[in-house]
């Protein structure tokens, strides 16, 4: 089983009796939008108890096409990384 956005909406709807289904959907959408915008703006996102999303700048580097061996230049880019919190790691390992 894979958890999807629909499952998150369902859980929020179930746990928060004051919300309509539409409001539950809106709240999950807003949660994700705010999280994404923080990363798009280049600022890290720290969710205590879960983990930290970092925005990292990678320098341009020379690489190779692994299929042809041809040299090419990989442009500088910005990537998102995730580091799980200690609490999450413990829970995953059944501690």
């Amino acid at each position: 089983m894979t958890l999807t956005k629909a499952d998150l909406v369902q859980q929020v709807y179930k746990n928060h009796e004051t919300l309509t289904k539409a409001q539950a959907t809106e709240s999950v959408e807003a949660f994700l939008r705010i999280s994404k915008n923080s990363l798009i703006d280049g600022s890290d996102l720290l969710l205590s108890g879960f983990g930290k999303f970092n925005v990292k700048d990678k320098n341009a580097r020379r690489g190779r096409n692994p299929q042809t061996g041809a040299e090419l230049t990989l442009d500088a880019r910005r990537v998102v990384t995730f580091k799980p919190s200690g609490i999450l790691r413990e829970k995953i390992n059944g501690a």
């Binding site: 956005k5 928060h16 969710l47 983990g51 998102v80 995953i92």
Partner: protein, 93 residues
């Protein structure tokens, strides 16, 4: 941005009391933690996915002392950023 800033932004964004935004945020995060704890993956389109990787026991070294140690089997969550977010993060630089 940390969790309390996210909660504040959520409350403002959809016009709900702060305490309700906090409860919703906790529900979302707890649901994701429970899913990963059961070994299940998460897939949020446009944001990214999480999968659990299982590592067997191996012989490692204490990087400080160089002493050999046995590393126990463990599971770790891995995040793969979604295409949408990856592209948007990259153009903003």
């Amino acid at each position: 941005m940390n969790k309390s800033e996210l909660i504040e932004a959520l409350a403002q964004d959809i016009g709900i009391p702060h305490r309700e935004a906090a409860a919703i945020t906790n529900t979302i995060i707890d649901t994701m933690i429970e899913s990963l704890s059961r070994g299940e993956s998460i897939e949020i389109r446009g944001f990214g996915s999480f999968v659990i990787k299982q590592y067997e026991s191996y012989e490692g070294r204490n990087p400080k002392t160089g002493k050999k140690i046995k590393v126990k089997p463990k599971k770790l969550p891995f995040f793969k950023v979604g295409k949408d977010l990856r592209e948007q993060v990259n153009v903003s630089g």
